[in-house]
């Protein structure tokens, strides 16, 4: 560095005297490596690392919402009825479901014979319900979140008082789902839901919405039946507007809730699903069980 030397007498330095001293530097940055290594790279590394996502799932137990109080009351078992078009009505060209109430169809309606039920044939035991849960009630743009399968079983409803299976035209397609501790004799698959605790806890009002559909996979004919939780179906005039959306009959709204530390879920029907006969009947007085009934859509 060049040093500019000057001699200044003390007497010469009066008021307002300033001396500009030029400081020359022969250093200039060659690159930004220091900045890059210590700031840029670190920042980029930080950005490249995914945030920790909480994959913890917890058990959600079914509940009914008491109309008077709005409280979510846990239920230890509920029933799922499936109702199909009767073979006779289909062959007549006027498909009709069995009965007029929220009731199940019979195994004879979907092609099972007594031997299937009595011997628990593979085509019987491998037939199953699939409950699928989606984020939106629109089949064109929704995402499957989770599903649960419930396999066909012979329970109290399908047996007579001596424990023998009933004839197939008296054997209801009905499943009683129950708590594995409180109701050990019931079907437990599909009773609990397992979902991410974090998503529910951080949802508005700690309530998380899903939309459920039900399919029956029939081992007799290999067909997958779509069923809706409303009987308001015109088999010869099925429109997308009637089926889909929050007001449609196909998707049943399910809300998962953190209810003061207890994780619950409940079915929230729309108007069509509440129409008589209701597809969702959770507040039926005892000894009736909370019941979901689903009717076949397409013959």
């Amino acid at each position: 560095m060049f040093v500019d030397k000057r001699k200044i007498l003390l007497d010469d330095v009066g008021s307002g005297t300033t001396i500009d001293i030029v400081l020359g530097s022969d250093f200039f940055p060659v690159d930004n490596s220091d900045l890059i290594e210590n700031r840029f790279v670190k920042d980029e590394i930080k950005k490249s690392i995914n945030p920790i996502i909480d994959y913890k799932k917890v058990i959600f137990k079914p509940a009914k919402i008491v109309p008077e109080t709005g409280n979510w009351e846990l239920i230890d078992k509920f029933r799922i009825n499936l109702n199909f078009y009767t073979p006779e009505s289909i062959s007549n060209g006027t498909p009709e479901h069995r009965g007029t109430e929220s009731e199940p169809g019979m195994y004879s309606d979907i092609g099972f014979i007594f031997d299937d039920v009595f011997c628990r044939t593979v085509r019987f035991t491998n037939s199953f319900i699939r409950l699928s849960f989606f984020d939106k009630p629109y089949s064109g743009k929704n995402t499957l979140l989770t599903f649960a399968d419930i396999y066909t079983q012979i329970g109290d409803l399908q047996e007579n008082e001596y424990g023998f299976p009933n004839p197939v035209d008296e054997s209801p397609i009905s499943f009683i789902l129950g708590d594995p501790i409180l109701q050990p004799d019931t079907v437990h698959e599909g009773f609990h839901m397992y979902w991410f605790q974090d998503l529910v806890d951080n949802s508005p009002n700690q309530e998380y919405e899903m939309y459920m559909t039900l399919q029956f996979n029939n081992g007799v004919n290999g067909r997958i039946y779509e069923l809706a939780s409303s009987r308001e179906i015109e088999p010869n005039n099925i429109t997308i507007n009637n089926i889909e959306g929050t007001d449609g009959i196909f998707y049943l709204k399910v809300v998962l809730k953190n209810d003061n530390g207890v994780y619950k879920y409940s079915f929230i029907p729309n108007d069509k699903q509440l129409q008589q006969p209701p597809g969702v009947l959770l507040n039926s007085p005892p000894p009736s069980l909370p019941t979901l009934t689903f009717w076949q859509i397409t013959p």
């Binding site: 060049f2 500019d4 010469d12 009066g14 307002g16 005297t17 300033t18 500009d20 030029v22 020359g24 530097s25 022969d26 200039f28 940055p29 060659v30 690159d31 930004n32 490596s33 890059i36 840029f40 790279v41 980029e44 590394i45 490249s48 690392i49 920790i52 996502i53 909480d54 994959y55 913890k56 917890v58 058990i59 137990k61 846990l74 230890d76 708590d179 594995p180 501790i181 409180l182 109701q183 050990p184 605790q197 003061n260 530390g261 207890v262 994780y263």
Partner: protein, 688 residues
């Protein structure tokens, strides 16, 4: 740069000129440009990032299984409770009212059976429609345990009422207790007391042995300090105050009781002890061990979500698929919904937590007024005092499994024995408590490690058994209760197997004359002295490193468990033993004489029937075999009981009197240690 400028001050230009501020702009030109950088490649290590996140996380999640070993040998009464149409009713303003006491049927001794440890009966009544027991599913030849049965004892039961509560706890404090009664204020902090002196002959010599009320935690050759012993030698050859002694051997003359006896190479005649006053302390490198009780604090709320739903706020519980114990008790799986954050928590020694405890507490929520059996027991207890008559279970009492000596406090197996009345126990423990008394531990500053000597045990009994004499003065109390160990250790971190070299900061402080506390702290930090380090003298520290998760030391010490979703996942696999307080290992056959016939009071018949229904009934015989020749007892026992003829007959009734180590009232069932082959055996074919 070599360009120079000469600048004259104005003063130098003319005589009249004055200096003014002048500014000169100098342009710094550069013809060079930053060199363009090549592509920058940086490797991000997934492993390092994982390790970083794992080290930073203080969140723990717990899940696992509990295999219960539970049964009901301490049942209330050998009765079958029958259903009634309306055992209770609800009156406005008065709440639930017992309408009537549900009827009960005494089960005769011959009809009492044991199945997988459960004591009960097989239904042998063909019409079950009107008969129910708890689960409403009684059926012919179904085994039903006496109360408390499955619904009050199992971890998983289907009445929807939790029988136990799970908690996560940690040791946060320590306290002192007096283990052996004394009048001089000697307590656990003064060492482990001695309760017995004995002589052992080895190699032709006599050695003195001592017995402690709890586990002493000693090993052969350990150095111990004998405190407040009497030196019988003159002059004091033993030098007990100055000298430490080594443990010559553990165990007594027969090599038994190694955890509670030890032998020293001293002539038994030369030394004496005073119970409750004389104590020992282990010595390591001239450091005496500390002895104390750890207190545990709950990290979870353990509140029940909804009564009647078997739902807990802290955790979910459900049957483990196909999981049963050898005795067919269902294995319970659980999953804590509540995360446990140990950030900032310190243990009783001020160290970061290295241990948590999975804690199971028996709770008393067995007073569901809609249950027929509950109504029966509550109506039986209606004459008891207000604070207990509405409970099914007593409050929990706790203590340790100590030696049997009436001077010993906290002997949980003795609780209820009149000889021990007035002794100390931990009492009034409830599942809603947040703080629990725990184990007795030893800590030596030289080793910097805690060693657990005795686990705490909780004790519960049913109110009916505990106060049976108050309920019906004909009977004695049945004061034998159940014991269980509530705490299971979860090792979340481990201390290294080595002790760091001693760090002497005082040396530096003295050398440089540092007095500022902040500077001293900085100095500590720069030497890596952790906050929990033990200050062995002023500013001189020693400590054990707390190993990181996944770090294993040279002896295999350390922990490693899954880290996922920002939390540590700990699997707990626990066995939960619900055992008898004092299982009787001895029995005496007692023979009672009963005279039946025309001229004896009617109460004799009742007495005979009472004997027949006593669970300890073994059999009866005619005093004189000639008595049976003229009488046709076609209806078995019932006919004999109704015998009302002359001459009178005399029967010898044999009953078993089971004897335990403590006087805890009448025992109905023998302990597993009794040789039952000597007693009568039954077969289910006798009934069904």
């Amino acid at each position: 740069m070599d360009k120079t400028n000469k600048i004259l001050l104005n003063k130098e230009r003319t005589y009249n000129s004055v200096n003014v501020n002048s500014q000169l702009q100098i342009g710094i030109d550069s013809t060079s440009k930053p060199i363009p950088l090549n592509d920058i490649d940086t490797t991000v290590s997934q492993f390092e990032q994982f390790e970083k996140e794992r080290k930073e996380s203080t969140i723990y999640r717990f899940y696992g299984q509990v295999t219960p070993i539970i049964s009901n040998p301490l049942f209330n009464d050998n009765i079958k409770i029958n259903n009634v149409d309306e055992p209770i009713k609800e009156e406005p303003g008065l709440g639930i009212i017992v309408n009537t006491t549900p009827p009960s049927t005494k089960i005769f001794s011959n009809d009492i059976f044991e199945t997988d440890g459960w004591i009960g009966y097989y239904n042998d009544e063909p019409d079950e429609s009107a008969l129910q027991f708890n689960d409403n599913k009684s059926a012919l030849c179904n085994f039903t345990p006496f109360d408390p049965g499955y619904d009050r004892l199992r971890i998983l039961d289907n009445d929807g009422i939790p029988n136990y509560l799970f908690k996560i706890t940690y040791p946060f404090n320590k306290k002192d207790i007096t283990i052996v009664k004394n009048k001089t204020g000697v307590s656990l902090k003064d060492g482990i007391p001695i309760i017995e002196k004995f002589t052992v002959r080895l190699n032709g010599r006599e050695y003195v042995g001592f017995k402690t009320p709890i586990n002493h935690g000693l090993s052969t050759n350990d150095e111990i300090k004998l405190i407040k012993f009497t030196d019988n030698t003159s002059p004091s050859v033993l030098s007990l105050n100055e000298k430490n002694y080594n443990v010559f051997k553990l165990g007594n003359q027969t090599n038994d009781l190694k955890f509670r006896t030890f032998i020293i190479d001293i002539n038994p005649n030369d030394i004496d002890f005073e119970i409750g006053v004389s104590t020992i302390k282990r010595v390591v490198q001239n450091k005496l061990s500390d002895y104390y009780v750890r207190e545990f604090k709950s990290l979870t709320t353990a509140s029940i979500g909804e009564i009647g739903g078997s739902y807990y706020k802290d955790y979910d519980i459900y049957p483990a698929a196909f999981g049963t114990s050898y005795y067919k008790d269902k294995v319970a799986s659980f999953n804590f919904k509540t995360d446990v954050d140990v950030d900032g928590l310190k243990d009783n020694l001020g160290r970061p937590l290295s241990e948590l405890y999975f804690t199971i507490i028996k709770n008393d929520s067995d007073t569901d007024p809609t249950s027929v059996s509950t109504q029966y027991w509550l109506s039986q207890q209606s004459g008891l005092t207000q604070d207990i008559k509405s409970r099914f279970w007593t409050k929990i009492t706790a203590g340790y499994e100590t030696e049997n000596n009436e001077n010993i406090n906290y002997n949980i197996r003795s609780f209820g024995d009149p000889v021990y009345n007035g002794n100390d126990y931990y009492t009034n423990i409830d599942e809603s408590d947040k703080v629990f008394d725990g184990d007795i531990v030893e800590y030596n500053e030289s080793e910097l490690l805690e060693r657990s000597l005795e686990f705490v045990h909780h004790r519960v009994n049913t109110i009916y058994r505990e106060y049976l004499n108050d309920i019906d003065s004909v009977y004695d109390d049945k004061r034998e209760g159940y014991l269980y160990n509530p705490f299971k250790k979860i090792q979340i971190r481990e201390f290294a197997n080595y002790i760091n070299p001693v760090v002497d900061i005082q040396n530096l402080i003295g050398k440089y004359g540092i007095t500022n506390p902040t500077e001293i702290e900085v100095l500590k930090k720069s030497f890596g002295v952790p906050s929990y380090a033990t200050e062995i003298s002023n500013n001189v520290y020693k400590w054990r490193d707390l190993l990181d998760i996944g770090e294993i030391d040279s002896t295999g010490g350390g922990v490693d468990y899954p880290f996922e979703s920002g939390a540590h996942y700990i699997n707990i696999n626990d066995r939960f033993f619900f055992k008898r307080q004092d299982p009787p290992c001895e029995f005496i056959i007692v023979t009672e004489e009963i005279e039946l016939g025309l001229t004896v009071p009617a109460s004799n018949k009742e007495k005979f029937l009472t004997y027949l229904s006593d669970p300890t009934f073994l059999g009866y015989s005619f005093r004189d075999v000639n008595d049976i020749t003229n009488v046709n007892f076609t209806d078995g026992v019932g006919n004999i009981a109704n015998y009302n003829l002359s001459p009178n007959i005399i029967l010898d009734v044999n009953l078993a009197d089971f004897v335990g180590e403590y006087d805890l009232g009448k025992r109905d069932v023998a302990g597993g240690c009794v040789n039952l082959s000597l007693l009568k055996q039954k077969d289910i074919d006798d009934v069904c």
